[in-house]
Structure formats: structure tokens, C-alpha cells
Symmetry: C3
Subunit: 346 residues, 3 copies
């Protein structure tokens, strides 16, 4: 266990419940299962429609996107509105920081505007953690992607999608294909699969995109795609960032597709009922063939829908934990007062 | 009748009611009249104030603007909020497509975020129709302007403004002045006036900006402004796009104003109670003199107000048609079950 | 008294109550006190939390930012949402005006979209006043900063913060340090302090940044920082605009900090319980030392929180005044009718 994991987990409150949501590292299976179960409750089982509920009425959520994102930002905003929260979205690249204000001053100012929760995306690893260390005790921070570090809500929607199709994750073989080294999504996926004790986690890709010490992550590395997806229950394709191409970590899109692209022929090597996932946006003909992306085993668009419900679950759990903690403190105070009274009376 | 008109109209459902709103082509007078009548119901007759109603509460509308627009986008957003819908507006020029995602993948992703209705503006003619062909059956598409093809909600607010001032459109002579050839607004206006059987539709402007086969559109072409507006009930001025000037289709702003600008002197040639319209934003001193734009016969700002109510009408009619269709299907199923039961019993 | 002050104040209605909120010039102490008292009512005295109230439900507010601003815009938006108004924010730099529309046409168009209130920030002094002169009688204009002229809501949140900490402003010595000459915030602060009859208003800074006729403003000028803050109750630091540096009005950031930066040592010259204010965003190490900005006498972040409540107060007072005026007109009409009836009967 690394020194970071043994340090008290900043995202848990004194009752061991989620106070922030920064990373899956250090969380227990019951934390993840609670999120998955709560997600279930927001989805109409017949229509896959997501309910509107008043759980966060009167709460103020600020989405701080230091890095552009349409997809993640929009799903968070929709999730917040379905929870009936008051939503502000700030595009911080172009604003306050232009006037030379420090990140921390920006944070404190926004906090003074009475935010109850910040959703943060930032190009630097650790940005969400940094924010969480500096907000007031009643304010919550959600990581919507920080550098190459973590994207835990994406990993949780992936887990939800898998559980929805395959039931218990315990029994599954999962292959993650592509740029494992640089992806915050993959880092969080591997953590989630480990915590939920997936039977086998494989990572598949060229040496230049694989982690240096895979055994430390508890994953098996495959450089041959056909071997890597042999007999798996779940294939998770990773988006190939264009900047990898230009930095010469991979030869060309065409070459990459030949070696690691998911085709119908290759898909046949996995279990017959294997599902195909992708965090989007997909590069057709680079990571994945259209016949597969649009085929019967693809659950890519379901992932998007579940992404809203998963984010609703995370946010409502955090606010409910905060209420529970206040209650706990109130009871403690009341008990202390009674003890004090008893002592004085006697 | 063109082959396109004879093909089944994609925007009508099996009961012949509006399911999408893409173009006025192929619609009947009763479709347009229903929109105009419903618009009336959203406006306080004494104050012209627009009511807030809960007709779309819980519905999620996404405004997808692939082409920039403040005016149309803002009126749609206000209309949606007055209907109590949940509103998301996406500026797509700068977002997902930057990552190389196809238009269709963007659409499917947004649909997976549980949109009930898309409002689309796009620089390419046919974009809204393309979207309508690919959305799920329960999702609705509204065209907020596609290339040079159509801008049907603008045309409907024009019709509403005319009816409000002139009563029945049947009896009216209408002159449309300016760039008729390239304008999606004019294309939709001509369709609306034809469907509502205006007595005479004139188009006025230089040859370079007139359609090649006016008779196919059922309009009369005038190159002389004084003749063109002689004795008309309604004058619709069209915005002169700057790009026309640079492409040498017209000589200069000054020259254009001299030939086709609407001045007080010219306005006197129309009927004494003629109204002056313009979709905005106006170019003062290019298409229209300030004395006319701000004069007693101008209804330009009323058009803006009615634009909100017309959009509320279109959206609420579509959602109400969807509810009616569901009801119809439920009754059919129930009837089939009864017939089946009767058959099995006998 | 200047001719402007003696001219009828455009921002007051016929009952002498606020109809717009453009400047503090010409307002009376009771106008300001009403804002401060109303602000108080929106803040939970125990937690400093700001309440959500339905005072502006159904009202439509448009934030028109011709000049970029994250902080002021966000606090206005949050204030409007806490009042339950319908909120539209328009970034006008990039929009309609790009198409060559005049400012006034933009205003009239937005007004036709059924706005009840405009919040305007503009780089030109007098812009808000110009808008107020041209809106319809039932529409209200709030100045969120116009050129170097005024930023009255910022000054009111400063007054509220001072009153909260020091009680009555009547008895206080206040020093404003920095670029007094170019700052709209300072202009409004001096007006507010004068109206509320602060005992002494000092302005402190280099000659190049001081007003030419300070006595006309009723302030005392100090070029020596140590003298200037000697024995004051309140120190207001002003943000140093980068453009002042480049225009050679001040030598360098380092030099400025040496002469006018607020350090712990210097702060000791003020009263022991003096408070330190700054409109933000702060330049650490330029105007103010971090030990002071984050120290026990700093109330900088409280200013941000109170900024929301103050804006709620201003907007709700204006809408309540409008309702009162309507009531007044209705009673007048009814009285006139009665008098008329009495006359006819007799």
C-alpha cells in the first residue's frame, strides 16, 4: 500500500462517507456499490428515462471548467438540473485568471458566492484534490477530470453500464484497449475494476502507450490485440488523443487501426455476448470500425445516458452524507450537554 | 408538384400532425392556422405580455447552434423557459466537432443525454432534416435556420404579425424586398403566404438577387421598387447580407439604398395603412430609412415579441401531438387485445 | 451643486423612489439605507447564508455584458436566481453588433423579448444612463459598471460590509488607496461615503493617479501612504489596472508596492480594529501583502458574499417600487373617476 493510500483519505468524512469525489483510490467496494445502487434508483427500468427529483433544491452548484469539454460539462449540468439544483457554469480559461488572479483566490471568491458544490475539470493532475484541501468544510468538490490523474465519474458510469449488462463485476474478464499510459479515464477504470474485484483486468496496446509497472496496477499487459481480447466479457476501447500521434508514440492512424482497431472479425474472439464500450467521442476507423460501434454488442450510447444518472447519484449521496454528518454532530453536542447537565446536577 | 413534395412528409406523424418542424413546404393551411391560434393564446391581449405556463415542465430541450445567433437563440431560450422546460444551449462550433466527431455521433450522444427536443441552426441546407431522419422516434427536431433552405419559425412569426394587424391573410398583397435569392427567411415566407393563399406575393430587387424561376414559386418579380410596392398591404424588407456586397452581386450600399431602400416617400406608394416588416437586425440607411423603421407603420419590434409566443406555440403543439399519438397507440393496443381476447373466447 | 445634480434624476420615479440604478450621484441617505436594510434581510445572521426567495418569480432579467466580467456577472446571475427570476445572459461583444446593428437597435430588440430588467456593463461611461433614457417605462436598468463613471452596486456592497463591521458610517475615517483617478468603483465609493456622511474620506496614491480637484469630491489627498492610513477605521485598496503600468503612470509593480502596498507593518498605523477591503481580484504583492489579504482584519471575501445580497436588495426594491407606483396610478385614476362622478352627479 502506497504512502498516499495509508494517509487519511481527504474525500471521506469522519463517518467514512464521501464528502468530496476526487478519485476512486482508497475507496471501498461499499462506496462504489452505493453509487451504483443509487444510480439504479434514478432510471425508469422500462424506458431508461431519467427522473427529475427535488433532492438538491436550493443547493448551488458551480461547474468550473478550466479545460474545455462539451460532453462531460453538459451531462453534469443536466444531472444537476434533474436534481433541481441552482446551476452556474464558468468557463475559467478566459475569465478571472486573465486578470492575473491566482487559482486559490478564484476558488475562494467563487466559494464566497455561496457555492455548495464545485465540479472541476482542469488540465493539471491533482487540481481537484488541491481545491478540496482549500474549500470551506461545508463545500464539496467533484473531480470531472484532472490532467492524467483521474476521471472517477466516467469510471463509475462504465461500472454501472457493465453491471447493467453483466450483473456482478466479480466474475468478469475486462480488456482495456489503447492509450493506457496517458488516460485519466483508464486509470480510474482500473481502480474501479480492482475495487469491485473483477476476475481479470487486461490492458492492450503498443509498448509506448502501456504503463511501466503494470503489476503494480494489478493488470496484465498484451501487445497483441487478438490475444488481449480473447474470451473477455467486456472490451473498453480508449480514445486515441491526436497529440499522441504527433508526438510519434504511434506510427499512424491507419497503422494503429490495423494493429488495435476493433473490427467485427476481432470482436468474434471475445465471448459471444461481450459488450463493447468507449468513453467517446469515438474516432471511427481509428480505434473502432463503424460496424462494431453501431452494432448489437455496442453499449456506447447507453454509457452516455447512464452518465447522467451516475452523476446524479454521486451528488445526491454527497449531500445526503453532509446532512447525516450535521445530524451526527447535533446529536453529539446534545449528548455532551446532557452529560454535562447530569454531572452538574449530581 | 416536385418529387420532394409528393414524398411522405417526414415532419408529420401518422395522424398528420406536426412531429418535427423543419419547413413549411408540404404543410396545410390548418397546420399554420393552429400555430397562429395557439400563439394568440400565449399573449395577453391588453398588454402584449407573454405568459409563463407549465406546458413543458420536465421536458428537456437542447438548442444546438452550429452557426452563431444571438437573436434567434435568445428568443428560443426565452420561449422554452416560459414553457417551463429544462433548457441546455450548446455552441457546437467550438466543441465536440473539434475533437473530430461526426455530426451524427454528436447528435446521438446528445440524444443519449435524454433530450426531448432539439432546436438546430446550421449553415448547411437540409441539416435539420438530416437530424430529424436520425433521431429516436420520441425526439423532436425544430429548424432554427438551415443554410439557404428554410427558417420556418421566423416566417410564422411574420404571418402572426400580419394577421394581428390585417386580419385574414387571404385578401392581402405582400411585397418582399431585397435579397430573395439567398434568403432562407424569404423562402419560408413565400411558402407561408402561398399556403395561407395571400392574394398576391411580389418579390422586389435587382436581377442578381431574384430567383431564376419565380413562376415556380408563385410570385411576381419587380425590379422597380416604386412599382413593386404600389398599393400593397404589407412590405417585408429583407436584411442585406454583407457577403453579397463583397461578392459583387450588388454595386454598393449607397446604390442599393437609392434603388431599393424603403423611404417615407416610397412608403406613400403602398396602401395608406400598409405595415412595414423586417426580420432584423436592420441596416439603417441601407435597406430602410430610420424615419420608416421607427415610424408608425413599422411593426418590426412587435415581430420580435411575437417571435417568442410563436416559438412557444410550435413547441407546445409538437409536445401535445406526441402525447395524443401515445394515447392513440395505447387505445389501438387495448383494442387489439380486446379483439384478440374476443377471438380466443369465441 | 452641479447642473447635472439639479436636473431631475432619471433613476427616480415620480414618487422619488428608485426606478433604475445607474449611479449614486443625486441619491439621498434614505435611498442607500433602504438598500442596506433590505440586504440585511436576505442574510441569515447566524450562518451568513443567503436565502432563496420568490420575490421576482415570473420576472425576466437580461444581463448584457458588453465588457467581459466573470465576478460581477456571476454574482448578478446568482442574485437573480435566488430571487427566482428568469435569467438570460448575453455576451454582446461577439454577437448582434458584429452584424452592424446599432446599440439602440440591440436594446430595443432585447426589450421586445419581454425583459423586465437589464443589467448592463459597458466600457463607455454613460452607457447605462443612455439605455435608461431609451427603454420603455416599465423596464428597469441596472448599471453593473460603465467606463470610468460608476459601479454603484459594488460601492453599496462595500458600504454594507463597513456597516456590518463598524456600525454607523457617520463616525468613520476611511482611506481609499491606489488608482483613484481612473476607477469607477472609487468614484461610486466616494459618493456613497459622502451621502452617508463619513467623518473623513482620504484618497492615497501617486499624483498621476489622483483626481485633479479633490476638494470638489470632498476628499483629502495623501501622497504618503503611512500618513494616509494613520488612524483610519477602514482601508479600501483599489485594484491596479495593468494598463496603468504600461502607460507609465506608475513606475513598476515593485516600486508601487514599496510606496503604496499594504503590509502588516503599515496596517499597524491604522486603528487596531481597522478593516481591510478590496473589490477583487487582488494582485498579491502589488497592492497588498498576502499576510494582510488573508489576515484577521481582511473582509475581502465577505464583500463577495454580501455582493450577492446587495444585488438582490437593489433588484427587489426596484420591482417593489414599480408595483407601488402602479398601485399609486390606479388609486389616482380611481379618485379622478370618483371626483368626476361626484361632479356629474351634483
Amino acid at each position: 500500500m502506497s504512502s498516499r493510500l495509508s494517509s487519511p483519505n481527504i474525500q471521506l468524512n469522519e463517518l467514512g462517507k464521501l464528502h468530496h469525489f476526487l478519485t476512486l483510490e482508497g475507496l471501498k467496494a461499499h462506496h462504489l456499490t452505493e453509487i451504483l445502487d443509487t444510480t439504479e434508483s434514478f432510471i425508469n427500468p422500462n424506458t431508461n428515462e431519467i427522473k427529475k427529483v427535488p433532492l438538491l433544491r436550493g443547493k448551488s452548484i458551480m461547474n468550473l471548467f478550466f479545460e474545455p469539454s462539451t460532453r462531460t460539462r453538459t451531462t453534469f449540468e443536466i444531472a444537476e438540473k434533474r436534481l433541481s439544483a441552482d446551476v452556474s457554469s464558468l468557463d475559467i480559461q478566459t475569465s478571472a485568471t486573465k486578470k492575473g488572479e491566482s487559482l486559490l483566490d478564484t476558488l475562494w471568491n467563487l466559494q464566497a458566492m455561496q457555492a455548495d458544490m464545485f465540479v472541476i475539470r482542469h488540465a493539471q493532475s491533482g487540481a481537484a484534490q488541491f481545491f478540496a484541501q482549500h474549500v470551506a468544510p461545508h463545500v464539496h468538490v467533484l473531480n470531472a477530470g484532472d490532467g492524467q490523474h483521474a476521471h472517477p465519474s466516467q469510471a463509475m458510469l462504465d461500472m454501472f453500464t457493465i453491471r447493467k449488462h453483466k450483473g456482478d463485476i466479480f466474475d468478469l474478464k475486462v480488456a482495456i484497449v489503447g492509450d493506457v499510459l496517458h488516460s485519466r479515464v483508464v486509470r480510474s477504470q482500473i481502480q474501479a475494476l480492482s475495487i469491485l474485484e473483477a476476475r481479470e483486468i487486461r490492458v492492450v496496446g503498443p509498448k509506448t502507450l502501456m504503463p511501466e509497472y503494470p503489476e503494480a496496477l494489478g493488470v496484465h499487459v498484451y501487445h497483441d490485440m487478438d490475444e488481449g481480447i480473447q474470451d473477455v466479457d467486456v472490451i473498453i476501447m480508449v480514445r486515441l488523443q491526436n497529440e499522441r500521434m504527433t508526438s510519434a508514440l504511434i506510427p499512424s492512424e491507419k497503422e494503429f487501426f490495423k494493429l488495435y482497431g476493433l473490427t467485427e472479425t476481432r470482436l468474434a474472439l471475445a465471448k459471444p455476448d461481450a459488450i463493447v464500450m468507449h468513453p467517446g467521442p469515438i474516432n471511427r476507423g481509428v480505434e473502432i470500425e463503424s460496424a462494431v460501434a453501431d452494432g448489437p454488442q455496442s453499449v456506447i450510447l447507453e454509457q452516455v445516458t447512464y452518465g447522467i444518472a451516475v452523476r446524479m447519484a454521486i451528488m445526491s449521496i454527497i449531500m445526503s452524507n453532509a446532512a447525516q454528518l450535521s445530524q451526527h454532530h447535533a446529536e453529539q453536542t446534545s449528548q455532551q450537554t446532557q452529560e454535562q447537565d447530569a454531572k452538574e446536577t449530581s
